[in-house]
């Protein structure tokens, strides 16, 4: 089977919904059920990038798990973090993959800044929401834009994401590729 490794429960929930969309679009196999079982949350970026945290998954590699896709946020370059920003995040994940040395196919996808930032970029009412964000100075409260995505989800619970937006293309491509040879 395949495994998607992400940072936390919000990412897990987002990936689950994206997979449901891809199943509906018939671009991933229709016999895949219980999406949660394909997604493992590492409870934070520092855990995700720490090779010591993979003891349980390591037991499954090569036996049960044939392909892995890491999905995580790059966060901000100015963060006091050795893996903050896109370039440093890429460097960290590539080092991790090297350290893990799993003899299976491993790939990664990094969100620009973070999941909430990424999602806001795909909203059809993006400008209105950004006006709201600056009016209430929401970034001063939380620069990760979590508040804004929460407001959006509360207002439009039936349409939390617009998966047809072009910004989703790259992650969709990675997921379709992940499930390509999967036979359950």
């Amino acid at each position: 089977m395949v495994k998607i490794i992400c940072e936390g429960d919000d990412d897990k929930s987002f990936i689950r919904q994206l997979l449901q969309h891809l199943k509906k679009e018939e671009v991933i196999p229709s016999n895949i059920v219980n999406f949660d079982s394909y997604i493992q949350s590492m409870k934070g970026k520092s855990n995700l990038l720490d090779s010591e945290k993979y003891l349980t998954i390591e037991k499954q590699i090569g036996k049960k798990i044939d392909k892995v896709l890491f999905i995580f946020d790059c966060d901000y370059i100015e963060d006091d973090n050795r893996c903050g920003g896109l370039e440093k995040s890429k460097e960290c994940i590539e080092n991790l993959i090297k350290q893990l040395d799993w003899s299976i196919e491993v790939d990664y996808y990094i969100f620009n800044k973070n999941l909430d930032y990424f999602i806001i970029d795909t909203l059809d009412k993006k400008d209105n929401f950004e006006d709201c964000e600056s009016c209430f100075r929401l970034k001063e409260l939380n620069k990760n834009r979590k508040i804004l995505t929460c407001i959006y989800k509360t207002l439009y619970p039936k349409k939390p994401y617009d998966f047809s937006h072009k910004n989703f293309n790259d992650i969709k491509k990675k997921l379709v590729n992940l499930f390509k040879v999967e036979s359950l």
């Binding site: 089977m1 219980n34 949660d36 079982s37 493992q40 949350s41 349980t56 037991k59 499954q60 090569g62 036996k63 049960k64």
Partner: protein, 320 residues
């Protein structure tokens, strides 16, 4: 504990070829898809633990064959020849563990048939015409198959409860399972009966789950300082009783020093196992996931915290 089976290497036994697993704990639950070899894995462990001499090895293999084929045996006459035929059908057994080495091979040299046994450091070759054996069974090693215990077997297990003065404990567990039942006795030699509404009724008049539940509790006492194997542990048990069963198993297996192996297909059973282990902070447990890769059987053994984490994350651990 020193007497526990901790690792096993099954070079040859039924569907297993060059299979290795280690990290078994006091209580071990086994999951996997149909026909992956969950029961055969337990039978290999059972054979290896039991086979401390030829009689015991022959007895355990015969009992495994009998259990698997018992419906076909109905009405047949049992004799040594039937047993030999069954035993020979396995042709090769080669299992080693941290406890024992158990090997059997049928040799055929130009029509001269011989049995070759290797048990720990002893190797014996016997012409099959000269072979005979005595039934020798270690009572502290029991295997409850998916048909459950017979009345006679349950009677033997209940004797252990009586010898340990644990009848009251058993009655209270039975009462928690079904509050209408106030007592349990073996009446008329080998008839397990439960008391309901002031009257003793044959256990077979109740649901299969009750007999299975009582069998598990009694067997735990009978296997003190030994081993208990249970195939399809949740057979006939309603999901609301699973937490109770695991609580009992964790408690008595610790108190009586019993190593337990059990199989299941049920997600509810695995979740209950994780939940109760967490509740009682029990670390001496494992979950053994069996699966196949390129037609070879492989295992993944999860420790206590890993089982809980896999369940919490809704990960699939019932085989691949």
């Amino acid at each position: 504990m020193d007497n526990y089976l901790k690792s096993i290497n099954i070079k040859d036994f039924k569907c297993f070829k060059n299979f290795e697993a280690n990290g078994f704990k006091r209580v071990n639950l086994i999951g996997g898809k149909n026909n992956v070899g969950k029961t055969a894995f337990m039978e290999a462990c059972y054979t290896n633990i039991s086979s401390t001499n030829i009689d015991k090895m022959w007895t355990v293999i015969s009992s495994i064959k009998f259990r698997r084929n018992n419906l076909e045996y109905l009405g047949e006459v049992f004799n040594l020849d039937t047993m030999k035929k069954d035993f020979e059908s396995l042709a090769v057994i080669n299992i080693s563990s941290n406890l024992n080495i158990s090997e059997f091979r049928l040799l055929n040299n130009n029509g001269k048939k011989e049995y070759k046994f290797k048990i720990n450091n002893k190797e014996i070759i016997i012409n099959i015409n000269d072979f005979s054996y005595n039934i020798e069974r270690d009572k502290k090693i029991q295997f409850i198959d998916n048909f459950g215990l017979t009345n006679s077997e349950l009677k033997d297990m209940f004797e252990a409860v009586q010898k340990k003065d644990k009848e009251e404990v058993l009655y209270s567990y039975i009462n928690e399972f079904d509050s209408n039942i106030v007592n349990f006795k073996i009446i008329g030699g080998d008839k397990p009966q439960c008391k309901v509404d002031g009257e003793y009724r044959d256990i077979n008049e109740f649901g299969d789950g009750l007999k299975h539940y009582i069998s598990i509790i009694c067997s735990l006492y009978a296997c003190a300082n030994g081993y208990l194997f249970i195939d399809e542990i949740d057979n006939g048990i309603h999901w609301t009783q699973l937490d109770k069963i695991w609580e009992i198993i964790l408690k008595i297996s610790k108190e009586q020093n019993v190593q337990l192996f059990a199989t299941t297909h049920s997600k509810e059973c695995i979740e209950s196992y994780g939940r109760i282990s967490k509740k009682f902070e029990e670390k001496d447990i494992s979950f053994i996931e069996l699966g196949q890769k390129n037609k070879k059987i492989e295992s993944i053994i999860y420790e206590s915290d890993e089982v809980i984490e896999q369940i919490y994350q809704n990960q699939e651990i019932r085989g691949w």
